[in-house]
Amino acid sequence: MEDIQEFSEVKFQGIKINYLYICKRKLWLFSKNITFESTSDKVLLGKVLHEYSYPKENTKEVLIDNLVMIDILSDGSIREVKYSSKMKEADIMQVVYYLYYLKQKGIQKQGIINYPKEKRKEVLELTPEYKEKVKQALKEIEEITTKPIPPPAQKQKICKSCAYFEFCWG
């Protein structure tokens, strides 16, 4: 019960959990709708991958509560499709957040991350540790996105393939 109450106060799009682990500045900018994905080739590649992988699945891109977008939904599992496993921790947290979210609604499933280009997959369960981590992450997202100014840019290796690269460093 306590879980549900806390949860209803902080609900976020799954991508925000992902961004929390990739770049807190990106998270802040994204939360203010300052996005540049539409002009990024990398983002286009990801989109195409989503569209063309797993053509036989018919429950693709399921939007729950107008908030959480599940790539592929099936009886026992939810699946998230990612272009590369470079940001594995962020991907894992995104999927366990979905599992956590669904559990609040009384739905229990297994999580799978597919990396079709690498022909790899990651299978996940919502363990108590992950549950704690998700709760912590939600709090952190709340803190970051309510700040009046964005966290300063910090150069990371992934900056150069980010849609925000020219925004942050130009």
């Binding site: 203010k32 539409s38 100014i149 130009g170």
Partner: protein
């Protein structure tokens, strides 16, 4: 890079199934819609809502110019990247007198810097360069409002345009800058070039979260998209004027490329084509960016100015206008 498409002939834009065509009396050309960012329409072109709806799906901006090559207006598809937060903060910078003056000053500073840059290499114009440096050096510290800033900018621009006579062919002598209507070839060229840079800047603003109607140097009431006028100030000397110098000094454009009627002078179709070609190749020219360590086109630099403004508005980084270092 996404392309700009210029339609200088008359014809019809038509969607047939999932392809966009430009049909003229002599040919039917398909347009690679995925790779088009903006379409500039100079000719007499018909199009219907079917075509417009298709064009807007791809977020393509249409810019229209009248018979004389002056900017008439734009069709901007429904904007995808809107940030209420950015707009509110942009407006706050307009409402605060000090904050507005700061940004207006930045635009003028960069414009003057680029004007001086254009003259620096020209021995013939040395006296004018010195005059501008003098005017700017004295005036810049005595500005307390936008009107004074505009006055200073006007005086500098006068000197700047006067200097053109020193290094441009005699046919293109400039007595004074006349806008509406331009009565001689050099004024016609400047007006045409400024129309182009204005619409290109609008296209770049459109790709960001900035609101093109909230401006700082120009009054927001002056023109519909006055932020485009503000940002254009930076790029007029950097892009438009250098294109004009090149076309005239290489004799690519001569008096035969102009039509005149009743105190009115404008580029003819052939002239427009030559100008657009050079202008577009300038926009695509790249320069190594020092921080990004990437090649950035002149068009890209317009976009980067927009990014810098957003960063300024959200309190991330104080705006520092472009000063070409190459």
């Amino acid at each position: 890079m996404q392309k700009s498409l210029y339609l200088t002939s008359n014809g019809r834009l038509r969607r047939h199934e999932n392809t966009l065509y430009f049909e003229t009396e002599v040919e039917k050309r398909s347009i690679d819609i995925e790779n088009v960012e903006q379409i500039h329409i100079f000719g007499e072109v018909d199009l219907n809502t079917k075509a417009l709806n298709y064009i807007s799906q791809y977020g393509i901006v249409l810019h229209f110019y009248n018979y004389y090559g002056f900017y008439a207006g734009s069709f901007l598809p429904r904007k995808k990247n809107v940030s209420g937060d950015v707009v509110v903060r942009q407006a706050l910078h307009y409402l605060d007198r000090e904050k507005r003056l700061f940004l207006a000053y930045c635009f003028v500073e960069s414009a003057v810097y680029h004007m001086m840059r254009n003259l620096r290499e020209r021995k013939e114009a040395e006296a004018f360069l010195i005059a501008i440096e003098d005017e700017w050096g004295k005036g810049r510290f005595n500005i307390s409002n936008i009107a004074e800033l505009m006055g200073l900018e006007g005086r500098i621009r006068n000197i700047y345009y006067q200097s053109f006579n020193q290094f441009l062919p005699e046919d293109f002598a400039m007595e004074k800058r006349e806008k509406r209507p331009p009565t001689n070839p050099i004024n016609a060229l400047i007006s045409f070039g400024n129309s182009l840079i204005y619409s290109h800047t609008l296209s770049q603003i459109y790709q960001t979260q900035l609101d093109p109607t909230i401006s700082f140097l120009h009054e927001p009431s002056e023109k519909r998209f006055s932020l485009s006028l503000d940002i254009s100030e930076i790029f007029k000397p950097l892009i438009v004027d250098t294109v004009i110098f090149k076309l005239l000094n290489n004799r690519q454009i001569s008096l035969e490329h102009f039509d005149e009627d009743l105190n009115y002078c404008y580029l003819n179709q052939e002239g427009k084509k030559i100008f657009i070609k050079e202008f577009q190749s300038k926009l695509e020219t790249t320069v190594r960016h020092r921080q990004l360590n990437r090649n950035v086109s002149y068009k890209g630099f317009i976009r980067l100015e927009c990014y810098k403004l957003i960063k300024h508005f959200i309190g991330d980084q104080v705006y520092s206008p472009l000063k070409a270092w190459w």
